[in-house]
Amino acid sequence: MATQTISAPATGGDAPLKVRRRSPLAWAKSHVLLVVTVLVFVFMLLPNAVILWMSFNSPDGKFNYTWHKFSLDAWKNPCSNSTMCHSIGLSLEIGVVATIIATILGTMIAFAMVRHRFKMRSGINALLFLPMAAPEVVMGATLAALFFNTIGPGAMGFWTITIAHVMFCISYVVVTVKSRLAGMDPTLERAAQDLYATPTQTFMKVTLPLVAPGIGAAALLAFAISIDDYIITVFTAGNSETFPMYIFGSVQRAYPAQIDVIGSLMLLGTMSVIAVSQILNQMRTSRKK
């Protein structure tokens, strides 16, 4: 301790304001940070690069795990395997239906939580928090038990999966819409009422447009969670097969390069949607100027 207290003023005491630029320790530290950050980013982005790379592979055997030779076959007929494309269709249908229901129910709860006073608030908060905190396998297993007991394994499929997805998406919608609502300026709504707008008019013309970005973000989040879910889905699916279930099954059967094509398309598709919306946004703001 004694050496530290003596050496610390020596580095800091010379020129306290320039210490962060000149001290070799600070220089080394900032570069260690840079190196670690770059390595972690490589670690996080490597699988996506591998997926894109392997989508151009012509696999030697059933499993597209090792590089064999270049081929465009998988990109030319991504749907040569009809089971895969059926499962993608089912995942998209479930995603859309579950997102619509979860967004409506979650937005209603968010409005009640932010705009109204009522009893049992902490109990309701706990009920909303728990689905986000409970292990997925527990939710899946218990829900499977409920469906086994009531409608039986044979009747499980599209609707049981959708019900499960709505259940775990609601909480995420509530959190997202709530943060948007809480950050809103309440004087705008009061101004509308001062200008003789009815409560319905105030809601439709002032409140809703202001909350819309939050609702949109919540819907996107719900869709992303729904389309990517495997664990809860496998417990509630019965005999249906969603895209994540198809991928998981492929590890046992055969893993075609087409899966890597879809994986690359998911990434490139969303990235181009973001890029286009950014460009449109910039064009809109520059036109206003």
Binding site: L33, A112, L127, A134
Partner: protein
């Protein structure tokens, strides 16, 4: 002048309407969503507690017989699985924090105009299904891949195999591969809350720390770290809770000796004709166990904050 006489009217109307509404509107808004959560989340969890003491099979049905031996089976027969689940999730959480903290720190304080782009890069990989990305590790860690070659040339594989982290000359199908996949999958969930809490810290506090004769490490230890504790706690919970329940990485990247609780629960529920009561008992054990660990952690973190 007419506005003056008309002005009080809407106020009066609003006052009349509000009284009965104040009690009903929130409940009308809450009811459908809360009903959904009650029927499809709360009731199933409670049903499974009852199911965990039932006996029977799928053909003849299950009966509530207060068969507590299910818990004995769930605890004694699957000891290694509980141990693996706990071990993998704790190691994953530690690795995630150790890797996420420098990254979040770098983006928050050194990111400058690249901040948004770097944070986007953290989220971008998740646009591709996490299963496809986890399976991509099979290619990266394959026996004839460069990772295994480099480790072999450095003679590191012998050491890791001696420690039991890898098996033979392979990285795949080993505990190390499972942890690698888990760290990879949960890293964004650690970075996001850490970044949010680090980003709020005023960089001038670092200068203040330096002015008060703190070295960079001391400034971090005494100023930045305490202020970023909400992010550390949030990141730990967002990583640890899903990691306990995760069995995808153990299934795809592990071997028969790395099975975790989730794999056994899925097996008991979906592939065994009379496994449903023991599976329910395992779910209850897992849920209660996770809850106890999380509560202890929050309690400890909370008190340390006060000290």
């Amino acid at each position: 002048m007419t506005t003056l006489t008309e002005a009080p009217a809407p106020v009066e109307q609003r006052g009349k309407e509000r009284k009965p509404r104040r009690n009903l509107t929130p409940w009308m808004l809450l009811l459908p969503g809360l009903l959904w959560l009650t029927v499809f989340f709360l009731v199933p969890i409670l049903t499974s507690v009852s199911a965990s003491v039932q006996t029977g099979n799928y053909d003849d049905g299950f009966k509530l017989t207060w068969h507590f031996a299910n818990y004995r089976d769930a605890l004694l027969n699957f000891g290694p699985q509980y141990w693996h689940s706990l071990l993998f999730s704790v190691i994953t959480t530690v690795f995630c924090l150790a890797l996420a903290y420098p990254v979040a720190y770098f983006i928050a304080f050194k990111g400058g105009k690249w901040k948004t782009l770097l944070m986007a890069l953290v989220i971008v990989p998740s646009f591709t299904s996490f299963l496809i990305r986890t399976i991509a590790w099979k290619t990266i860690l394959a026996d004839n891949g460069s990772v295994v070659h480099v480790l072999n040339d450095l003679h590191l594989l012998k050491i890791t195999t001696a420690l039991g982290w890898t098996v033979g000359n392979h990285v795949l199908a080993s505990p190390a591969a499972v942890v690698c996949g888990m760290v990879y999958n949960f890293l964004p969930f650690t970075i996001l809350p850490l970044y949010t809490s680090l980003e709020k810290i005023d960089p001038r506090l670092h200068e203040a720390g330096a002015d008060l004769y703190c070295g960079p490490f001391q400034t971090w230890r005494r100023v930045t770290l305490p202020l970023s504790m909400p992010g550390v706690i949030g990141g730990t919970l967002l990583t640890f809770i899903p990691a306990v329940g995760d069995y995808i990485n153990a299934q795809l990247l592990g071997n028969p000796n790395t099975t975790v609780v989730g794999q056994r629960i899925e097996d008991l529920f979906l592939r065994q004709s009379n496994g449903y009561p023991v599976g329910s008992a395992m779910s209850v054990v897992m849920m209660v166990g996770t809850l106890v660990i999380v509560m202890t952690y929050i309690w400890r973190a909370g008190t340390e904050d006060l000290l």
